[in-house]
């Protein structure tokens, strides 16, 4: 009897270990993934939905990941793929916070906590999304992954399944396009990540 109960136990325990291992690997990249998703969708809620969707998808495929050291690359590849799929099916409907800054209390709270001004975050999120939407999807991914997400060129090359040279070319191309879209000193507001530092300083 004892033997049989021991035989039945490992399934849930293994599942729990599997889950803990997955979450241990996920949490260090979670903040970047969420920021990434919210920036490219231009929406706080759509970004959270996108990350949740990617997490569930990644968890269902976790057993297929052989090299756990490359978890962040693997997870971001899934995240980007989910973004492309969801956007092509029009499941993402970015909410324009700028249009109704006094609208939903959740947005109000989230934006006020960040910048003190409910309209500011919404405006900048929308502007960032608009700028990124003018880039080719692969250029957008490269500029985001190499820049704020902090991946190396080699890692991005593996995510995009292309050569290092192609990654760098895309990055420079994206940079040139962005420079044309928003000329120097064109931002008339204080950037969110530079608290206390104004444009003139």
């Amino acid at each position: 009897m004892v033997k049989s109960s021991k035989q039945q136990e490992p399934e849930p325990r293994l599942e729990q270990q599997h889950q803990q291992e997955f979450l241990d690997l996920l949490m260090p990249v979670y903040a970047k993934a969420l920021a990434y998703a919210q920036t490219i969708t231009g929406s706080l809620m759509d970004g959270e939905d996108l990350v949740s969707d990617a997490v569930l998808r990644a968890y269902s495929r976790f057993a297929q990941l052989r090299n756990r050291e490359r978890f962040s690359e693997w997870f971001f590849a899934i995240l980007l793929n989910r973004f492309r799929n969801l956007r092509s099916r029009s499941r993402l409907h970015p909410l324009m916070l700028v249009a109704e800054p006094g609208g939903h209390p959740v947005f109000l709270e989230a934006t006020a906590r960040t910048s003190g001004d409910p309209a500011e975050l919404g405006y900048q999120l929308t502007l960032a999304r608009e700028l990124l939407s003018h880039l080719h999807p692969r250029e957008r991914d490269v500029i985001m992954l190499l820049g704020p997400a902090g991946f190396s060129v080699d890692e991005v090359a593996r995510i995009q399944r292309c050569s290092r040279r192609a990654v760098i070319q895309r990055a420079y191309r994206a940079r040139r396009k962005l420079a044309r879209l928003l000329p120097k000193d064109a931002i008339p507001f204080r950037l969110l990540g530079t608290r206390g530092v104004s444009k003139n300083e």
């Binding site: 260090p28 979670y30 990434y36 997490v55 900048q124 960032a128 500029i143 704020p148 928003l182 931002i187």
Partner: protein
């Protein structure tokens, strides 16, 4: 160009990085972990089957089921009758819709007895004589006979007409495969072979004047009647 400088060098990049940094700063991995722990526990990992395997399994199942279903026999039906009813001498083809309406009106009684299909047609038998050909499904010989008698009694123009239930039916069995070939490809030969086999088995050899008449309707695909006549 050997390495990319990640530091933003234009206003747009600075804006994107600042938005990114603000969102990164706002997120709370501890709360997220608790949320995902609960969510992953309620949505346990499902064993994933590759799409190619799913497609292969689907087609294999389709082949196996198709092979099995195709050999299923379709049993013969014995509830079809054909009646030849002589029309009045003054009948002209323009009146045909009128006779269809008359028979449709009397078909209510037929349906009360279980009949579900009445096919009306007319043929010219030479010298200005016309016959109505009625194909009835769902009733036996006696019921069909009683029905046609009642029609003759109630329709004055047919009071002196004669009729005949021209041929007994030759029920035959076939298979789903043959019926599908008949329905989808219009392959009548294979079904006619079944009819000839059944007719010969019944003891009446087919003469050179015989013909096989197959009645099919979309809603009644498996129901068919073979008739040998005239």
């Amino acid at each position: 160009m050997s390495e990319f400088q990640t530091k933003p060098d234009n206003a747009a990049e600075k804006l994107i990085q600042s938005v990114f940094a603000a969102r990164e700063e706002e997120s709370d991995p501890t709360i997220a972990r608790l949320r995902f722990e609960r969510r992953l526990s309620t949505n346990p990992r499902q064993p994933r089957v590759r799409t190619a395997i799913k497609v292969a399994a689907f087609f294999t199942a389709l082949l196996v089921l198709g092979g099995w279903a195709a050999s299923l026999p379709v049993h013969p039906l014995e509830d079809g009758q054909q009646i030849a009813l002589k029309l009045p001498q003054d009948f002209c083809t323009a009146e045909y819709p009128y006779w269809v309406a008359v028979l449709a009106k009397h078909s209510n009684r037929l349906s009360e007895q279980g009949g579900h299909s009445l096919i009306v047609d007319y043929v010219e038998a030479g010298e200005g004589e016309y016959y109505l050909h009625l194909g009835i499904l769902g009733v036996d010989y006696t019921q069909a006979n009683e029905w046609v008698r009642s029609v003759l009694k109630e329709v004055p123009a047919l009071a002196d007409s004669s009729y005949s239930i021209t041929q007994p039916l030759v029920p035959y069995r076939t298979s789903v495969r043959n019926m599908l070939a008949f329905k989808l490809l219009g392959n009548t030969e294979i079904v006619e072979r079944d009819v000839v086999r059944a007719w010969n088995a019944a003891g009446d050899g087919l003469s050179s004047r015989s013909f096989i008449y197959l009645i099919t309707r979309p809603a009644d695909a498996a129901r068919r009647v073979s008739m040998v006549g005239f």
